[in-house]
Structures are given as C-alpha cells and as structure tokens.
Amino acid sequence: MPILHTVNKSPFEKDSLETCIAHALDGSAVLLIEDGVYAAANGTVVAPRVRDAMRRLKFYVLANDCKARGLGEDALIDGIEPVDYAGFVDLAVGHDNVQSWL
C-alpha cells in the first residue's frame, strides 16, 4: 500500500495541505486531522482544490476533530470518509508508511 498522509493544519492558515497534495503519489491516502479537518467542509474556497485532488487521492477525516469544531458530517465534501480513532490506526497499519504534514 502507498503512503498515508496526515494533515493537521487549517488550509486557510498554512500550505500544509497544498504541499501534501502536490507531493502525494496517485492512490495515496490523505487523512485530515485537528485543524486540517476544515479542508473537508463543503462550500469553502479550498473545496474545489480538494475535490480535484480526490480524483487521484483517497480522503479521510477524523470524526472527533470535526465534531469538536462543529463541522457536521452533512457539511463534508461528498466522498470524504469519516473515521474514528480505531479507523486511524487501521489506516496507519494498512499503509507502508505515514507522512505527517505539519
């Protein structure tokens, strides 16, 4: 399995997500955590960029971090899969490596 990339910064504050997308091989997974979950919201100025990246990367979002920030599952971009902490572990062990974009 290819790499699991995690992004924990808001896409409006830092370019972590943008750099991640630019350096992730096709078929990689991206898990949005902490302030990174804001990139999973529908209707934002970065949503088109994420939707474009989803054609070649699989996106996940950490459900508890969404809940903490008042980001409901109905507000997520279609196709982004919420995972719980156990799901995070499954993703980590299910990929060759984990790359954290801080």
Binding site: E13, T44, D65, R69, G70
Partner: protein, 134 residues
C-alpha cells in the same frame, strides 16, 4: 477616567493552537478594568464562533460556552468579517447565538454578533486605541 478603546482581534481556529482559548481569557480578565471593549473575528478566527462545537470525543474541555459569558462582562460587540465567513462556506446562521441584555432598553436581549465587511472592519481597527492580536 479616560476609557480606552480596546479591540481583541481573533485570527485562529479554536483547538489547534492555544491562541483562541488564551485570547478569550485575556478578554474576560480585561473586562474587569471598565474599558471600551470589542472583539473582532477574522480569518480562521470565525471558527471560534461556530455553533455545535462538541469536544467530548477529544477528552478536552470546550471553552466554546465561555463566549456566552461575554455579554455579562459588558463585551457586547463581536464583529465577524463577512469575507472570512464566505471563504469558509459559512454565514451568520452557522454561528452560535450570543446575546446581551440592554439595561437602557428594559433589559431587551440583543445579539452581540455583528457581521461586517472587510472595509468596515478596517475602519473599526483604525478607530481603536489598542488592538490585541491573537
């Protein structure tokens, strides 16, 4: 006594860093000094006011309810930048309701949240004696 015009300018999302929580602490402490205080929410700072925050899954205390105390501390003007909301797919209806009671108007309950555009916020910042940037 001369009352200074103070603005607390909030630019960060609530949980990823300590800025928002500490900034709110400073506002609540500073409110004891009887100054002319307002708050502004710009950029990711608008996320601080998002409705429905529930940190129970993080094992972390939510400071979101503390914003509701602001009205009792006479911090009754919270300016939220419209452009920042729009960039994030949000509008005023996505924010938690925050109110204060106007003693000069038979204790009428009024909204503390004022959505303003960037040009107006620019003028508001310019009108302050001190701006605290978090």
């Amino acid at each position: 006594m001369f009352r200074k015009k103070l603005m607390y300018l909030n630019r960060r999302a609530p949980y990823g860093t300590i800025y928002a929580a500490e900034g709110l602490e400073v506002v609540l402490i500073g409110a004891a000094f009887d100054q002319d205080v307002c708050m502004a929410f710009v950029g990711d700072g608008v996320y601080q006011l998002k409705a429905g925050q529930d940190t129970s899954g993080l094992g972390l205390k939510s400071f979101s309810p503390a914003y509701r105390a602001l009205g009792d501390y006479d911090v009754t003007r919270l300016y939220v930048e419209r452009e920042s909301l729009e960039e994030r797919g949000l509008d005023a209806g996505d924010l938690m309701p925050l109110t204060w009671e106007d003693e000069d108007d038979d204790w009428a309950e009024k909204s503390s949240i004022h959505v303003v555009d960037r040009a107006e916020l620019t003028r508001l910042i310019d009108a302050q004696d001190v701006v605290f940037n978090f």
